[in-house]
């Protein structure tokens, strides 16, 4: 009983938040337009948080995702500005993401540096690289191809559902797609099972014949890839790229995974639970903005909620 209360605490909190906003904002909050809006706002966070879950399953984490997102946006924009087609810009950015992630994995699993230190180092490196490549300037306007920016504005029309004029944004669909792929990867492949085993006991996993070094590298590579994807989504949405625009993603992504971890049976990260964490943070952000709450107060609230949720989970575990 106590245990189920511990597991459902975050979900109850989420319900309370939704209820409060619904009462406070009766006309604007629980509307199709606003919900679609929320889904678009949190699509980048959803992608980063889902792929962050992959490394956190092994009890590792990656601090460099935010600056990787910025770097990926810059790389794509620079490739666009040089006159190459859209697909090459996207490919270059995703490749940089994968390479950066694999490098994190190399530092952590081959060299053996703690993930905190390794990814703190690469956070700074990626961020610096974004400034160097862009010359410190925001790349926008004619340099950003129309097709790229249009993707973020476009969506599947929902006229058929009686929601005339509304579109389900491609960005939201992308986030759902990434979530699904990550879910399948972690829950329904041997790769995912092995990652959970490494998280359960790395030494035992090694002695049971798992290729721990390789698996950790691949996992970090996927997290880097996800970060780069989110950076592209961000750049498309604002039709510009600047070297700091992804920086807010890292803390929110880790917070979302931690919120999710309070809901699972053994406190392990799960993609589905991470999604609830993402929704909670996204809804909170949207509602507080509509209530015109100061953004600094918003930060205090988000931090406090994460601490309270994780504390309740920790106390519940101790019994």
């Amino acid at each position: 009983m106590l245990k189920s209360l511990r597991q459902s605490g975050t979900l109850i909190g989420f319900a309370v938040i939704v209820a409060v906003f619904t009462l406070q904002l009766p006309d604007t909050f629980l509307t199709a337009r606003n919900l679609i809006n929320i889904s678009q706002q949190l699509s980048m966070l959803a992608v980063v948080a889902a792929t962050m879950t992959i490394v956190m399953v092994m009890t590792d984490f990656d601090l460099s995702v935010g600056s990787m997102a910025s770097l990926a946006g810059i790389v794509a924009a620079v490739v666009f500005a040089a006159g190459y087609p859209v697909w090459m810009g996207l490919g270059a950015a995703l490749l940089v993401g994968l390479a950066g992630g694999l490098f994190n994995g190399f530092l952590v699993s081959v060299i053996g540096i703690l993930p905190f230190v390794a990814t703190l180092g690469t956070l700074t490196v990626f961020s610096g690289a974004a400034f160097v490549i862009s010359g410190g300037k925001t790349i926008y306007g004619r340099d950003i191809p129309k097709g790229f920016a249009d993707f973020a504005r476009g969506g599947v029309p929902l006229d058929g559902l009686g929601l005339a004029g509304l579109k389900l944004p491609y960005l939201s669909l992308t986030a759902v797609g990434v979530m699904l792929v990550t879910w399948v990867l972690l829950e329904h492949t041997t790769f995912g099972r092995r990652l959970y085993a490494i998280g359960g006991n790395r030494e035992a996993a090694l002695l049971a014949g798992l290729r721990v070094t390789r698996l950790r590298m691949i996992a970090f590579g996927l997290t880097g890839l996800g970060a780069a994807g989110a950076g592209l989504m961000y750049a498309a949405r604002v039709a510009s790229a600047n070297p700091t625009q992804g920086s807010g993603l890292m803390l929110d992504a880790i917070a979302a995974v931690f919120l999710g971890m309070t809901m699972t049976r053994m406190g392990e990260p799960r993609v589905g639970a991470t999604l609830v964490g993402v929704l909670l943070l996204g809804v909170l952000d949207n509602g507080l903005t509509q209530l015109k709450v100061d953004s600094y107060v918003r930060e205090i609230l988000v931090g406090a909620i994460v601490i309270v949720a994780v504390s309740i989970a920790a106390l519940g575990k101790r019994r």
Partner: protein, 491 residues
């Protein structure tokens, strides 16, 4: 202090008794040895005396007064000073700080560290030990193992209050003969001051020379207490190993096969002179005094210890280069530290059992459940089902999960490291049955164990190691003879 008696000390872990009703009387000015095989209950006894672990039953009586013993502070207040086998030191700080750790540091004006006073006190403690060569300003981590032990003993000496009992757990394990001599002199001085000393050691000669009384424990029970003067080495060994062994060990019923493993004049960073053959179905034991290289021999077959010279042929191929390659080649491992090296305790029986045998991309839960159910029946696992977290099982059942994992691929080489450590008697017999069954199927087995009856009961031959060197390979032997041979490797 006139008298000190521990009455009826008992402790069980997860229902498995580690110590059952042991009583012990210590006399001031006498050194009392406690001897026994691994798992006899020595470590538990020390933990209870130190207050680190709380006894299920039993009490302490000092000079006719009953004392509480529920926490380390109680042991400290009673005047017990325990020097544990694992050297708990803080390597990053100085020797002086280590020695005075846990004491109010000398201060100036109430807040500033009084460094000269700190070093003076630490030096005085080391001087009392005759260990003036240790610089109190050196980092503890830079000391050799022998000096670390001296430092730990100094820590016990410097402790305030009246000390009436010193407990030394394998104090000479890491010491050179000269350092040991220093330690014996210190013990002599503590004796002369009227302290009682409880001395736990595997080293028979040392115990016979140093100690006044010898208590032998076996399977958590008290076997005998005799003055050292009226007993002999052989009598002590007999008392230590006198377990009835005949019916616990299933006998060999199949003939040995071809030679499948051949180690020729093999050396590695930690091993030398390893030279043996192993036949299909044969069980070769590995033993020695303490950690003598048994573990490293097993690691040769996992690619975790690499030969620097000599040859190792495993089923006609070279030795695997990694644990992953080893499992693929049909090598299976039962690690010694079940919790640290064997299991993912939060994960299910199924996930633990099938882990090395996952193949392809898609996870197949139905197949896994079926395989896990089949295997757990085969190993006689008692659980609520394949989805029960392993951490909820008893030690014996946890070990059966590890066996299920190892046996699933029908291995051709089974590496076992203390396979019955922390396992109750019933599960032990079942595990011996599993080992014998694997051997009967033609699986070669390397069994590293500190349990002598287990070795003599199961193994066709037993390799004796000392400091990483292969000393001898013995055929059929009794536990007492084996123990005697192990003690001989010291000389």
């Amino acid at each position: 202090m006139q008298s000190l008696t521990f009455h009826d000390l008992s402790k069980a872990y997860a229902g498995v008794p580690a110590l059952g009703g042991v009583s012990l009387t210590l006399t001031p000015g006498r050194v009392h040895a406690v001897m026994g095989e691994n798992g006899a209950g020595k470590s538990t006894l020390i933990k209870l005396i130190a207050g680190v672990v709380r006894a299920d039953r039993g009490w302490v009586e000092k000079d006719g007064v009953r004392l509480p013993l529920a926490a380390p502070a109680d042991a400290m207040a009673a005047g017990f000073r325990v020097i544990h086998q694992e050297l708990n030191i803080v390597p990053q700080v100085s020797v002086a700080e280590n020695i005075l750790l846990g004491h109010p540091a000398p201060r100036r004006a109430g807040v500033l560290m009084d460094w000269p006073a700190l070093h003076t006190r630490a030096r005085a403690a080391l001087h009392e030990l005759g260990a003036d060569h240790i610089d109190t300003r050196a980092l503890a981590g830079h000391l050799g193992r022998g000096d670390r032990m001296l430092m730990r003993i100094a820590t016990a000496l410097v402790a305030g209050g009246e000390a009436c009992l010193y407990v030394l757990d394998e104090p000479t394990a890491a010491l050179t003969p000269a350092e040991s001599a220093l330690l014996f002199a210190v013990i002599g001085r503590l004796k002369a001051r009227g302290a009682a000393i409880l001395y736990v050691s595997h080293r028979m000669d040392e115990v016979m020379r140093l100690c006044d009384d010898i208590t032998v424990l076996r399977d958590g029970r008290h076997v005998s207490t005799t003055p050292a003067g009226v007993t002999t080495k052989d009598a002590v060994i007999r008392a230590m190993t006198g377990r009835a062994v005949s019916d616990t060990y299933p006998p060999r019923q199949t003939p040995l096969g071809e030679v499948v493993i051949r180690a020729e004049a093999l050396s590695s960073p930690r091993l030398s002179g390893i030279d043996f053959t192993l036949r299909a179905g044969e069980i070769l034991g590995l033993t020695g005094l303490g950690e003598a290289g048994q573990r490293d021999v097993l690691r040769l077959f996992l690619g975790l210890e690499r030969a620097t010279s000599g040859r190792l042929v495993v089923h006609g191929a070279r030795a695997p280069r990694s644990p992953a390659a080893a499992w693929r080649a049909g090598v299976a491992l039962i690690p010694g530290e079940r919790r640290a090296e064997g299991l993912m305790l939060q994960m299910s029986v199924r996930a633990n059992a099938v882990l090395p045998h996952l193949s392809g991309w898609a996870a197949r839960p139905q197949t896994e459940v079926r395989q896990a159910a089949e295997l757990t029946t085969r190993v006689g696992l008692k659980s609520t089902g394949p989805d029960q977290p392993v951490g909820q099982l008893s030690g014996g059942n946890q070990q059966k999960v590890v066996f299920a994992r190892a046996l699933m691929g029908n291995p051709n080489l089974l590496l076992l490291e203390d396979p019955t450590r922390g396992v109750d008697v019933g599960a032990r017999a079942e595990i011996y049955g599993l080992i014998r069954a694997a051997s009967a199927r033609g699986c070669a087995v390397l069994l590293a164990s500190t349990d002598l009856p287990e070795l003599t009961g199961l193994c066709d031959r037993i390799m004796l190691l000392h400091a990483g060197r292969q000393v001898d390979i013995l055929g059929a032997v009794s536990p007492a003879d084996l123990l005697a041979r192990i003690y001989e490797t010291e000389n």
